[in-house]
Symmetry: C2
Subunit: 343 residues, 2 copies
């Protein structure tokens, strides 16, 4: 059997991110200069699927580094209810790998009507969506031929991180970001074994802070590729009720990397183990995770704010691995189509 395309695309990620950081540095800096001249009060993000998970990262990182409140748009208000919300001093960012989503386009069109600054982050700069925006950030991920987005997701994260750093204008953070492609490459050099996850047929996924996005994207990859149920939650929300489903047949995957959210991501390991659930932790603190009762997938230690760029890699590989074990055509799983033209 030939190597699945998705594995090649996963392996491409360090090079794609490195290229994005290099080739988009000037347009991102120019955008940040314009925004600093007339600072937005808030950010609105319109995206779907993996791009929406990149939006969850944006919510964290623009808040953390720039003090900006970030809302995720509800396109249905525009496309179904034809009721725009009033925007003032709002930077509106559309994220779409294909640039083909009519609902994302509707949000950007509305932002233009309301004379708000617009940015589109896309892998298709010729798309109708890209034509609309004041500024386009080209993901430059090359053709993504597998149905499941991988390199366009991490490239979106890098674009968001680069814009946040440019807005903050911080040389140390910029150095940390430039070191990320090497950490991603080191991650790919690690063993991709997934242990007992091979036998899972459902799971919960936990992550918070920077890794909230990783929990969502991990769950989406697992669902899309392997067809097993995988629901993301922050540890805080998980303990508020959904923990009820966790048990011997319903394992937990937790993203527990060094940073302010580590303790919470470890706490749920204990809660899940108390219910008899197998737990797998994507972690850079293996002995603590093992002591709490988790099996581990080791992740490179990087600064917390950048950890989603690295921690998603073992989750992507886990999703592929579980799918292959189940005999699934991972490049065309379940008749999914690459572009879903939802309105």
């Amino acid at each position: 059997m030939s190597t699945p395309i998705v594995e090649t695309e996963i392996a491409d990620q360090p090079a794609v991110v490195e290229r994005l950081l290099r080739e988009q540095e000037d347009p991102i800096r120019a955008l940040a200069d314009r925004l600093r001249a007339r600072p937005p009060q808030s950010i609105l993000i319109a995206a779907r699927g993996s791009s929406d998970n990149a939006g969850r990262y944006a919510q964290h990182v623009f808040g953390l580094l720039c003090g900006l409140p970030v809302a995720l748009a509800t396109p249905s208000l525009l496309t179904l209810y034809h009721t725009p919300v009033r925007l003032q001093n709002t930077l509106v960012i559309g994220i779409s790998q294909s640039g083909a989503s009519p609902d994302i386009r509707a949000v950007i069109e509305d932002a233009r009507r309301q004379q708000q600054p617009t940015v589109v982050i896309t892998n298709n700069t010729d798309s109708p969506l890209a034509q609309l925006a004041d500024t386009v950030i080209d993901l430059g991920a090359g053709p993504e031929r597998s149905i499941a987005a991988t390199k366009s997701y991490t490239s979106s994260l890098a674009a968001i991180a680069a814009l946040a750093v440019a807005l903050r204008d911080d040389a140390q953070l910029a150095r940390e970001l430039r070191a990320i492609p090497d950490a991603m490459a080191a991650q790919l050099d690690r063993d991709g074994a997934v242990g007992t996850a091979e036998t899972w047929d459902r799971c919960m996924v936990a992550g918070r802070g920077a890794q909230y996005a990783t929990a969502w994207e991990s769950a989406l990859k697992i669902k899309e590729l392997s067809g097993i149920a995988a629901e993301p939650h922050s540890p805080a929300d998980l303990l508020h009720g959904p923990i009820a489903v966790v048990g011997p047949k319903h394992p937990l995957l937790t993203i527990a990397t060094t940073g302010p959210a580590f303790d919470g991501a470890l706490e749920v390991v204990g809660a899940a183990r108390d219910r008899g659930a197998p737990v797998l932790a994507i972690t850079d603190r293996t002995s603590e995770a093992r002591a709490a009762g988790a099996d581990v997938l080791v992740v490179e230690r990087v600064p917390d704010w950048l950890s989603p760029l690295v921690a998603i890699i073992p989750a992507q590989r886990l999703a592929v691995h579980v799918a292959l074990q189940r005999g699934i055509d991972v490049d065309r799983p379940f008749g999914l189509s690459k572009v879903t033209e939802t309105t």
Copy 2:
């Protein structure tokens, strides 16, 4: 076996909502008058669990009726990262049945420091959270003794709807809202049979627009009470990937009520049926839902913007029914605790 408390609390909902609309009319009108004198540019909502699902309804209804952008807060930025985002002209609303969540309190405290108007919607007006707010809306649901929130959820929806109507100052909408307790009572008079759902051991839940909140809250009740996996999505997001898990062993519950989101909620019925999945629709358009291949739970027809107050009732009863079939103590399922003091 005696009647479970949660069934009594579900049955109490029309009376609780009627009381809220009556007793909180004056404080809500006074709040709306103050806000109209100095209109907020946006709303930020802090909540967890069922209250967060009420926040999803707020996102829809304040956008639809008041043109206000609504963001759901990320308390981790405050409680874990100690980094407040800058708020300007933002109405900050905390929703907490118990008033005991430290993370919701942190968001309200920060809003006060930033001199933003604050509202707390709570069932415990003596709570520390309630003490902090400029305005308190008392859910007046009486003690909620079952672990799973039911009457405090619908009472929160009613409080949000009442505030949106008062801000919009629309007599016709106010009349529609006042008619809702009767529609809820009529819903409770309907047969609560759930058909084949008794045998489910996992499901996906779809809903959009007004019913996006219902999809989330239905999924949460099903998880909390019955311990079966239940993941909520908008139909648009579902088709972007998560539909992959839907199949013969993974049914779909869709909230398909009359309104702009109906077509999308019906479209996913076809997509799920194509994958061989059983589908149950909570709907007021039974012949269309049946023609698409769904079994139906009939819901009273009410104005779309208020439909979440009625459509959640069959979902609550479905969750209880499935749990009882599985021999679960529905008032104390899975060792969950009523107040989760997450930070």
